[in-house]
């Protein structure tokens, strides 16, 4: 009996993790390990946000800002119907771009994941998807102009073919152009996470569905899409936050005829109304965080991370 207890104690000792000898030094090491991340996140994320929050309560005139605790930056922003219209417009863009990128992104990811058989081909096609990202955002946006313009590729083709007599005006410098450019810019952000979730779906699940008599559509609706939801949610977060914060695409592609919240902030800043822009930024941040929280409530993305 004694030998058994002794050997049990020995095995228990062997199985235990190294004994903590000095509590304070261990704690110091873990703080040291966390320091780089704290510095980066603190310096480049928390501090700037804090500053924006503080500045949003400051007073200002045409030349300078005065440290203060006033709320009229918020009341002015939220009390103006222009602000509300701009927010609605931004939300409209976000919704349209989200819906279109989700549709295309899902099908591209679906094709890559289920119809391309070899892993090498999958990789090649996936890299092809990223090719547009080898050029700058601005260049890609601007290159739409010769395509969509009054005398652009599409209009001249339509005119030559005799389909229209006058150039189609809404192709460029319109909401259509804004949405088109944004879809072009952001679809990959939808493709990647959805592709990732689709690749993780156990292929025998599709066979099991087929065995149970599901048609391709039924399998898609009942198995593939529910299992792709986390990827869709992550893609949605990417696209929505990017669109909500966009100002250059809206400015260039609408030709200044459409507005977004970020563009409004940019204009305020060019008029040196920093506190007003800061208040706007805080409101936008709150709105986007609410949207992300909403998405996370609907879909559990922890499985993906």
């Amino acid at each position: 009996m004694a030998t058994i207890t002794a050997s049990q104690a020995a095995s228990a000792r062997a199985g235990r993790k190294p004994v903590r000898r000095d509590g304070s030094s261990v704690r110091l090491v873990s703080y040291l390990q966390a320091t780089p991340l704290v510095l980066i996140l603190g310096g480049f994320l928390l501090l700037p946000i804090l500053m924006i929050g503080v500045v949003s309560f400051w007073d200002y005139d045409f030349a300078a800002m005065y440290p203060d605790l006033v709320t009229f930056n918020y009341t002015e922003t939220l009390g103006s119907w222009v602000t509300w219209k701009t927010y609605l417009n931004t939300l409209k863009f976000a919704f349209l771009v989200w819906a279109i990128t989700l549709f295309f992104g899902f099908w591209v990811a679906y094709f890559l994941a289920f119809h391309v058989r070899s892993a090498a081909m999958q990789m090649v096609l996936f890299l092809v998807c990223t090719v547009p990202f080898l050029t700058s955002n601005i260049i890609r946006m601007i290159s739409w102009i010769p395509v969509l313009g009054r005398n652009g590729l599409i209009n001249s083709a339509l005119m030559e073919a005799g389909i229209v007599n006058e150039p189609v005006e809404w192709l460029l410098y319109s909401d259509f152009a804004v949405v088109l450019a944004m879809v072009h810019l952001y679809t990959l952000f939808m493709v990647t996470p959805i592709f990732n979730t689709l690749m993780r779906i156990d292929r025998t699940l599709l066979e099991a569905a087929r065995d149970a008599g599901a048609s391709s559509w039924q399998t898609l609706l009942n198995v593939v899409i529910p299992l792709a939801k986390p990827g869709m949610a992550i893609g949605t977060i990417f696209v929505v936050t990017l669109v909500m914060a966009d100002f250059s695409t809206v400015q260039v592609m609408s030709g200044g005829q459409s507005a977004s919240v970020a563009l409004m902030m940019k204009n305020q800043m060019s008029l040196l109304q920093y506190p007003a822009a800061a208040a706007n930024a805080v409101v936008l941040l709150a709105l986007v965080l609410l949207m992300v929280a909403g998405i996370l409530r609907i879909v559990d993305i922890r499985k993906e991370l």
Partner: protein
């Protein structure tokens, strides 16, 4: 039960690119049989099962279920149901929806299909877990859900792809008994793919031993064990010694073979041999210690290894050109007369214990 219908596989071949996974096999599985497809990995047993299920196209040949040729029918219209190796339960659905899945696909209204699914879950004693997701269940419970999901369509045949391989050994034995009980009570045909001869012997009414895309032997377990058709079957089923040699004499129904650089052995056999070599099989538990009565029914070798197995002791003997000839002694016999490694040991067996093995006709 009349709904169990015969499965008839007629010279079915499966070719993947340039490799032939299954080569023109023919097999009749009578209705209501528990059939085990047994073989090493890559022998074509899973391909065969998947062709019966309809998850793999048949390169040539036909599969008939009852009176219907199902070769070109989709899986759901064959009257078969498949249980997958990893169970393939839908992770996003709870047990009721998992089990009711095929009914949902058929458009059965929700209350009706949920009631039917609950019935199946009760049959599997899982009703308490109805609202859980598969990930919250143990391996054995997941398997029962998979069974319930497969059986809800009232299939004529249930196809099981290595159903017990994911379970721990203890659970494996318990689920084995449950499968057998279920098959008996439902009376439908089960086709079960496995690489464990123990599992096949315990479950099957009909064992189909496959190797290299061909059927080596299809027979009831007792026949497969007592009359293995080929050297492969004898080796794969285990507990057999296979002696291969060149035929030196074959007269009056007595066949003599000579092992290269070793002894000669005899067997009683009336068939005409189709090659110059032959294989004999002798069960390890039929070998006795002692000198042979007739020349060729035994040899003397030296003990190279001794394994204690509880009720029996396994000795490995080398000699007469045989590398590891295994004998199984009852523990009582062994310990009455202990033997040590390196000792010379005379071995013998009875004439009816020698089985002449056939060759696969390739």
């Amino acid at each position: 039960m009349s709904k169990a219908s015969e499965i008839d596989i007629a010279s079915v071949t499966k070719v993947y690119g340039t490799t032939t996974a299954v080569e023109a096999i023919s097999l009749k599985i009578p209705g209501g049989t528990y059939c085990c497809l047994l073989g090493p990995s890559g022998c074509g047993k899973t391909s065969t099962l998947r062709m019966i299920a309809g998850h793999e196209t048949i390169s040539s040949g036909d599969v008939r279920l009852g009176n219907i040729v199902v070769t070109d029918l989709p899986p759901a219209r064959r009257g078969t149901a498949m249980m997958f190796q990893s169970y393939a339960l839908f992770p996003h659905l709870d047990l009721v929806d998992n089990v009711a899945f095929s009914l949902k696909m058929k458009g059965v209204p929700k209350p009706e299909r949920q009631a039917k699914a609950m019935e199946m879950l009760e049959l599997m004693e899982l009703q308490a877990y109805a609202t859980r997701k598969p990930a919250q269940l143990s391996g054995g419970q997941q398997q029962r859900v998979a069974l319930a999901r497969a059986l809800i369509t009232n299939p004529q045949a249930l196809l099981l792809d290595e159903p017990l391989s994911a379970l721990d050994p203890f659970l494996k034995v318990r689920m084995r008994a449950e499968l057998k009980k279920l098959q008996t009570s439902l009376g439908i045909t089960f086709v079960h793919v496995t690489h464990s001869q123990e599992e096949a012997m315990a479950l099957a009414d009909l064992i189909v031993v496959m190797n290299d895309g061909r059927i080596e032997q299809a027979a009831p377990p007792r026949t497969v064990f007592e009359q293995p058709a080929t050297a492969f079957v004898a080796r794969f089923m285990g507990d057999h010694n296979v002696i291969s040699g060149r035929i030196t004499d074959h007269r009056n129904g007595v066949m003599t073979i000579a092992v290269p650089q070793g002894g000669t052995f005899v067997a009683w056999d009336n068939s005409t041999p189709f090659s110059e070599t032959a294989d004999f099989a002798i069960r390890t538990d039929r070998v006795r210690i002692g000198t042979e009565d007739i020349n060729g029914l035994g040899f003397t070798g030296s003990v190279s290894n001794i394994e204690y197995r509880g009720a029996s002791v396994k000795l490995t003997v080398a000699g007469a050109g045989l590398e590891d000839f295994t004998i199984l002694l009852r523990d009582r016999d062994f310990f009455a007369n202990p033997i040590r490694v390196g000792e010379a040991l005379p071995l013998c067996w009875e004439r009816e214990d020698v089985i002449v093995l056939g060759r696969t006709q390739h």
